[in-house]
């Protein structure tokens, strides 16, 4: 199935609901009634959305996407190429929606990982118009056309947009990503205490969804395959900073991340922080760990 150019068979219908209809004017009662206040707020909201609608002039149009294709097994796809698809645009359409449309309507062999559609499973990080993004969390209206969708750089391509994640998983596993506290409060119903501040401190780091966007964006990780990479270091941070684990365990964790290919490799490029779909301040976490490691070493001098 070589489908280099695909046009939708019929012109998509324009969505009549797209054009915002102002709400019927209601009889205004007392100026201060809560209902009126609500209506007022609602109208403000509508106005805001109308503005948003102006920005998406795409409505009723087709979106041109260029998708990277490669399959080691299929002759026509052994030589990597880009296929063009023209997908009818609907409001709120994401890159993932466009890919699904292209696959279901035009070319069933178009292959990519996806599952949750809500930025929580981390399977659909792609290289979209030159940066690492989650397909399901990227609105087409924000992108300039044609939208180029490629597999994540610096990872081996398995097929089309699917890359080999093994190396990423290995790095994640290498920081002993599990709670190690053995000394627990007595009784199966007794919980460990943790201050709110401490939970707040680790909160952002616990949000990682293992999408590998950060790793793919980091030039150091690209050059040095053994570099733990921002996600794994962040995972280590999540535990090292959790006060529920004892000091010795923290020291053990610091020893892991200050290896040759650990935190010192980071050159503060910030691209990891920029692409992280969960807004985790990765560079900050890495830097903090560097300082912790230095402090720990100074103690022994």
């Amino acid at each position: 199935m070589s489908t280099q150019q695909q046009e939708p068979e019929e012109a998509p219908e324009t969505d009549p609901e797209a054009a915002e209809v102002p709400p019927e004017s209601h009889e205004m009662k007392a100026q201060s009634s809560p209902q009126q206040a609500r209506l007022q707020r609602k109208q403000d909201g509508l106005a805001a959305r109308e503005r948003a609608a102006d920005e998406t002039e795409l409505e009723g149009d087709t979106v041109h996407i260029k998708v990277f294709r490669y399959d080691p097994e299929v002759e026509a796809k052994q030589e990597p190429r880009f296929d063009d698809f023209y997908v009818p645009y609907t409001r709120g359409m994401t890159v993932l929606d466009a890919l699904i449309y292209a696959r279901d309507e035009f070319d069933p062999s178009l292959t990519f990982r996806h599952s949750c559609r809500q930025a929580i499973c981390g399977s659909d990080a792609f290289f979209v118009n030159g940066s690492q993004r989650l397909g399901c969390k990227t609105q087409l209206s924000e992108l300039s056309q044609p939208v180029r969708i490629e597999p994540l750089p610096h990872q081996e391509v398995v097929k089309d947009l699917v890359v080999d994640m093994e190396h990423f998983y290995d790095q994640m596993h290498s920081v002993e990503p599990y709670f190690q506290q053995e000394d627990l409060p007595a009784g199966e119903l007794a919980e460990q205490r943790q201050t709110r501040e401490n939970r707040e401190k680790v909160k952002m780091s616990t949000r990682c969804i293992w999408c590998a966007a950060c790793m793919s964006s980091c030039n150091i990780a690209a050059g040095d395959n053994q570099y733990l990479g921002p996600a794994a270091i962040n995972k280590a941070y999540r535990f090292a900073m959790d006060e529920r684990e004892d000091e010795e365990i923290k020291e053990h964790r610091l020893r892991i991340i200050e290896q040759e290919h650990g935190v010192w490799r980071c050159q503060t490029q910030f691209s990891c922080t920029e692409v992280c779909p969960k807004d985790i301040p990765l560079t900050e976490h890495i830097q903090e760990l560097k300082r912790e490691a230095v402090k720990k070493n100074l103690k022994f001098w």
Binding site: Q269, F270, T283, E284, R291
Partner: protein, 143 residues
């Protein structure tokens, strides 16, 4: 790199197009650092003419016989191209210093949210300092 599937230029073009502040800062810092260390070697080599000078050797510069050290330096300084390169060196050094300070701040965890702004600030400041120094650097150069 070894294990990534080679997508040739496709991959690289995309990356360069969307290069972000932190990445450019990194590249520039690298570049300027290398120039500086390269210059340090050259610099010591040039200054080594002091050894000859101490021996009382002289050279002829523009018809005059002068001390080897003074002569070497002034001879170089009289060349337009050397002056231009010096300005370049200044630019490189100033950027490296400013961005180096930025990196030191980042290492201390200060102003991480403003990392892109501080990079642009480094660039602008470098520009201003360099432009402002041009008269001094170019003073008395024979064309």
């Amino acid at each position: 790199m070894s294990q990534s599937y080679n997508r040739g230029l496709i991959e690289d073009f995309g990356r360069w197009k969307e290069f972000s502040a932190g990445m450019w800062a990194w590249i520039f810092h690298k570049f300027t650092g290398w120039i500086l260390i390269g210059y340090l070697f050259t610099h010591i080599a040039v200054l080594s003419s002091a050894i000859a000078a101490a021996d009382g050797q002289t050279i002829v510069v523009g018809g005059e016989t002068v001390n080897a050290y003074t002569g070497t330096l002034q001879g170089l300084e009289s060349l337009f191209i050397v002056r231009v390169m010096e300005v370049g060196l200044l630019a490189v050094a100033v950027f490296h210093i400013l961005n180096g300070c930025r990196l030191l701040m980042v290492d201390l965890g200060i102003g991480l949210e403003a990392q892109d702004k501080s990079f642009y600030a480094s660039l602008v400041l470098t520009g201003i300092i360099v432009v402002a120094s041009v008269p001094t650097f170019m003073q008395g150069v024979g064309l």
